[in-house]
Symmetry: C2
């Protein structure tokens, strides 16, 4: 098996076209899926628990008498944790502690209420409060990742969310002990073994058993993504994720094997994942390709890695590190490794990325699991306008305004003029009534 990412050079005449072609990805919108999801949502909204039980039986082959059969009780989560080997228990707890610490710093830095007063005593500010109740969607099957449970639940916890409701499908009753253990470590409030559009519907509308939430986060398949888009507005949702991506900016100072393995670690997710290397050193690119050739046969997931690298990977020779940074900004990658001996020289040039991994020791996989920052990141170039999942996604803000009697005199005159200009006379009168001379 061979993995040969597309080799490009920015000085090639056809670089732009081939680069664009390789980058291209668009979410296929499938009208049949949309239609099916709309029906499931309407049905769960109308029939509640009964519909949830039926769909779970039909899609997950899970036969239960009632909703109690679809709930994971706290003692089951704890038992899953207690049943793990000690090394896994410790790793989950260590990762959770670091993720929690990072998000606590995030809350202190950007998630606290604030206010100030004008000289006339008028108070202006913003009150930051947690959401009451959120739902976390955790995929079952091959992409059931305990780390995702931590990354979704812990920021909600740190934000102060009162109740965290987890849903995780268990096709044919197969439970993932690590996922259940992670739910225990992360302090999930309630957990249900349901999935798909029916789980999203249950969380968005509520049923007799499943509490209606204010926001739903977490990744899922095409049905889940479509359902989340549908219920957006009734509840909040996080981003709709595309395939995962890594971009490595290399100056040639990192061992080529390390960079090859970092490209693999993205490619092993799935065939549509994208791994790109940008480097101004042709000999180093050759060395990385040699590492790929040598290391690939050892990898258990070699087939997926090869398909991903052959279909969507690229090794791009640039004129300079500056040019590499500029290209990176055009891509706005989900994961950006600055594999350089002077990462802080390049960091200020990097404007758009979900997460920036600085220096040779910062492999993306350390960030994925336990460095602390969130691994739920904007994909497909959406880092141009969106952010990693964070405490701020589980908080909302209310403006605070207390106009003093004196302040009402100044503000009332301004408001009156603009309101009359907009033809909104009641707005104007409401302001004018507060004027002392009125």
């Amino acid at each position: 098996m061979k993995a040969t990412p597309l080799l490009l050079c920015t000085t090639d005449a056809d670089f732009e076209a081939r680069f664009q072609q390789r980058l291209h990805w668009s979410a296929a919108t499938d009208a049949a899926i949309e239609q099916r999801v709309a029906e499931i949502l309407a049905d769960v909204r109308a029939r509640g628990d009964a519909a949830v039980i039926e769909y779970t039986q039909r899609f997950d082959g899970l036969q239960v008498e009632g909703m109690a059969g679809l709930e994971l009780k706290q003692d089951e989560l704890k038992a899953a944790f207690d049943g793990l080997p000690e090394v896994q228990r410790e790793a989950l707890q260590a990762a959770a502690a670091r993720v929690r610490r990072y998000h606590e710093a995030q809350k202190r830095a950007s998630g606290e209420s604030w206010s100030y007063r004008d000289e006339d005593g008028t108070l202006l500010g913003q009150k930051v409060t947690p959401l009451d109740r959120v739902g976390i969607y955790v995929p079952g099957g091959k992409a059931a990742y305990p780390s995702s449970v931590l990354m979704n639940a812990l920021p909600a916890h740190v934000a102060g969310v009162g109740e965290i409701i987890m849903v995780v499908p268990t096709p044919r009753g197969e439970r993932n002990a690590l996922v259940l253990a992670a739910a225990y470590v992360a302090g999930v409030t309630r957990a249900f073994t349901i999935g798909g559009a029916q789980a999203v519907a249950a969380l968005a509308y509520g049923t007799a058993t499943i509490p209606k939430v204010d926001k739903i986060t977490g990744p899922g398949n095409a049905y889940v993504a479509s359902a989340k888009k549908h219920v957006f507005g009734t509840v909040g949702i996080d981003m709709i994720a595309g395939p995962s991506e890594i971009l490595v900016l290399a100056d040639g100072s990192t061992p080529p094997d390390w960079v090859a393995m970092d490209l693999f670690s993205q490619a092993e997710h799935d065939e549509l994942a994208q791994s790109i290397l940008l480097c101004p050193d042709a000999a180093y690119i050759e060395a990385v390709q040699a590492s790929i050739d040598r290391l690939l046969p050892e990898m258990p997931r070699a087939e997926i890695i090869a398909k991903s690298l052959n279909g969507r990977g690229a090794l791009i020779l640039t004129r300079s590190m500056e040019e590499a940074c500029a290209i990176s900004n055009r891509i706005a990658p989900e994961h950006l490794e600055v594999s350089s001996s002077e990462p802080m020289r390049w960091e200020p040039l990097l404007r758009h990325a979900g997460a920036i991994f600085l220096g040779a020791y910062t492999s993306e996989s350390l960030g994925d699991y336990c460095a602390g920052p969130n691994h739920v990141l904007p994909t497909s170039g959406t880092a141009r306008f969106s952010s990693p999942l964070g405490v701020y996604d589980f908080q909302k803000r209310s403006s605070l305004i207390e106009v003093s009697e004196q302040g009402a005199q100044t503000l009332g005159r301004i408001a009156s003029v603009i309101a009359h200009g907009e033809g909104l006379q009641a707005h104007a009168r409401a302001a004018e009534m507060r004027l002392a001379s009125s």
Copy 2:
């Protein structure tokens, strides 16, 4: 003409049902509009400027030779400002200065980059950067509000957005001088006289003339709302707004005329706007109804006000102020006035609201125009999970991680255990390669 909001009492046996019925509102999704919008988006994406010119002629009756005829140049914006009466120029500038000051405080409080280092030298943090280019949709016709130009453009400016592209339809060539002047005051980069789904498409995909933006904010009609939902993902969008709402919590200490006028100032927006009063004092509710009766005939927009109050308004007698606060939390109103002599006593009980106006002097209209906070607020109960438009909507975050050689030893072991547990061996190997003993 009479305006008689529904009178409810929380002790009534049928309170819950009647309360729910009055609150109910849902965005009608019109399949015909969806289909038409999808066609317009695809057409503008394929044909660019030519399609924009055609749709603008068809829908706005605006005949132009080329795209130059659809651009408002800076000198036209300035001329509109210079042509205003001095009192309007001053009011716009005073409002802009206050809105800018508030959003600068918001940026300092919650929008700055931060980082910390572990004892082993590992750096963790988040870099906050502005979006490169945003689009602001400003409705034309009856809802053309200069204040909305300020409220959308100024936070983008304060965030540091490089280019702010405004679109505003001018049906049959009618330009609103106050809107153009507000664009001048707010420092809009470029402005085009286009609207509808075609304007959203032009901003989302870009044309030869209209620059592709990273995010689109601002209110619009059903076509605009549908188009924004469609392009979500290609670009960022702000919330999809429902009808405007005010909730007044009154303890009976504010002059009833003031409260009546505050209810009017919401109701005059449109027939679907909702004005609700919650008060534990039956005599005060009667006094507010008397004020409504006396003041309504004076109002130029009396007809709209009456329709809104009769169709969607409510005066609710509660057992106590505490109960009024609890009901307010269930509604999660866009605008919440605490018309009380001790507003700070009730403020801590109020968990969900777009903006909270504290005390008798803080009429909503002061906040709408010039107090400083943004008037783009979450509607229809979405204050449960979303926030006022703010500087944070025009910024995005990138996680920063620099793992030290020493840090890689601790983190690598944790990551390796979890990665093997998830069956992602390349993730594990990438971490293990950084271990000194490897």
